[in-house]
């Protein structure tokens, strides 16, 4: 599962996008972890996450854009991983301060701009252990969607958010049938892991529905022309 990596975008676009993954590992610290994980869901909410989830299984209804936190909590079992997204570095910092204090002993993974994460860690007193960077997209990149559409679809690392759904909702917004906020949330519903950032999607949809065509930016990372 590398599902929070490979979120394409410029440094400016990525500045409002920080994913948290808490991990209890089978054979190490997974047994009895469901209770802590349920507590974490509430901490995500307390620190202002814009998307939350982590439960799995036949009765799982989806992330908080689709269902309630209570419903997610009910389906949470040992082996499930709590996930959330923060839309500001300030929220990330306040959450990490509390994580350090509570010292749950689960692995904490943050995905986002590395320099920002590093400076937040320095302030909080955490020393990062391992990193995973994207080396971009290889192969026939002419198959990728254009600009902001790629930025939106790559917010679900499991590929559940369809590029055609983005096109469809852009048309609905342009026709006045849906607001940008509603469309941003609608796009996040198929992302079962709840890593999709509806606030960032809203900003990207604004670019896509604007009268002026947004200029394409080559980020320098292979395949990331956004």
């Amino acid at each position: 599962m590398t599902h929070s990596l490979h979120r394409a975008g410029t440094i400016e676009d990525l500045g409002c996008d920080y994913v948290i993954i808490m991990r209890a590992e089978k054979g190490y610290n997974q047994e009895g972890s469901a209770g802590i994980c349920k507590e974490l869901l509430r901490l995500f909410e307390k620190h202002g996450a814009v998307n939350i989830t982590g439960a799995r299984g036949p009765n799982y209804k989806g992330n908080i854009l689709e269902t309630t936190l209570e419903s997610i909590e009910k389906e949470f079992k040992d082996g499930n991983s709590p996930y959330c997204v923060f839309d500001t570095k300030e929220k990330l910092e306040s959450f990490l301060r509390e994580m350090k204090e509570r010292d749950y002993g689960l692995s904490v993974v943050v995905s986002g701009l590395y320099d920002t994460i590093k400076s937040v860690c320095d302030r909080v007193g955490i020393t990062p252990h391992t990193t995973n960077h994207s080396l971009g997209v290889w192969g026939n990149i002419s198959l990728l969607p254009d600009g902001p559409v790629l930025e939106i679809t790559t917010m679900c690392g499991h590929g559940q958010v369809s590029r055609y759904l983005v096109d469809d909702l852009v048309e609905k917004v342009k026709a006045g049938k849906m607001s940008l906020e509603e469309a941003g949330k609608e796009l996040g519903k198929p992302c079962l892991c709840g890593l999709f950032n509806p606030k960032r999607a809203e900003m990207l949809l604004h670019k896509l529905t604007g009268k002026e065509k947004a200029e394409r930016v080559n980020t320098g990372v292979r395949g990331w022309v956004v």
Partner: protein
């Protein structure tokens, strides 16, 4: 699957499919079974006004391969027991110690973002890495589909299965970065009908710096400004 008796042919379901496998035939929605990766998005989307989408609870082998590699709500029960693409990679490296200093973890996710690919073509893309003599990660469900893990040859009965994405995962020594990028370029040229996303995993140096990034940049490859960072808060500590 779609209940043709119920479908009213409105076409509202078409945009939700990530691989564009739903079409309209004779005013009825139809799924292209070859293109379909069994991700379940159409069923879960609840866009259908007459609830014509049904999801088969169980799929026979080898069709089930599509679902476990494409639907994050279907666990890899027969292998790692994980969800999604089924590998923990660096998320719990602080407790597992899977990636150590002096090694680089590489994850090549074929089909991502949003294109998909058959296992037959995953095999072609994996071949240049097998020729490097690497060991494919045993705790990864894709490796379990291989008949010959030395040559990255997959079992014949799964080769025609199409998945949204699957991760080829291995370790390599930093001194072999040059060989690695040559293999990536070779795989890239073979990926004519798909794409793949590449991850570079590093255990941080004792002084907190990230190894190997500058070496990759010297070879002409820019890494993303965003990264996935394991903060080292897990216990028991792998390094202890």
């Amino acid at each position: 699957m779609i209940d043709r008796e119920l479908c009213i042919g409105c076409g509202d379901c078409l945009p939700v499919c990530p691989v564009g496998a739903i079409g309209l035939e004779a005013e009825c929605a139809e799924i292209d079974e070859e293109m379909c990766v069994e991700c379940g998005v159409c069923y879960r989307a609840k866009r259908c006004p007459v609830e014509a989408f049904k999801q088969a609870p169980d799929l026979p082998w080898p069709r089930i391969v599509r679902r476990v590699f494409s639907d994050p709500n279907a666990p890899h029960s027969a292998t790692t027991g994980g969800w999604g693409r089924g590998t923990s990679e660096m998320k719990s490296n602080d407790v597992t110690g899977r990636y150590k200093r002096g090694q680089i973890g590489i994850a090549v996710e074929v089909g991502r973002p949003g294109v998909g690919e058959t296992i037959r073509n995953v095999e072609k893309i994996a071949a240049p890495f097998a020729r490097l003599g690497v060991e494919f990660e045993p705790l990864n469900p894709l490796t379990s589909l291989m008949e010959d893990t030395k040559r990255a040859i997959f079992k014949e009965d799964v080769k025609d299965e199409r998945v949204l994405s699957a991760i080829i995962e291995f370790l390599i020594e930093p001194s072999r970065l040059n060989e690695l990028v040559k293999a990536l370029e070779e795989s890239s040229a073979l990926a004519t009908d798909t794409v793949f996303s590449v991850s570079v995993i590093n255990r941080l140096n004792l002084d907190g710096t990230i190894p190997n990034l500058e070496a990759l940049e010297r070879l002409g490859y820019q890494l993303s400004p965003n990264a996935k960072v394991n903060l080292g808060l897990g216990r028991p500590k792998a390094d202890a």
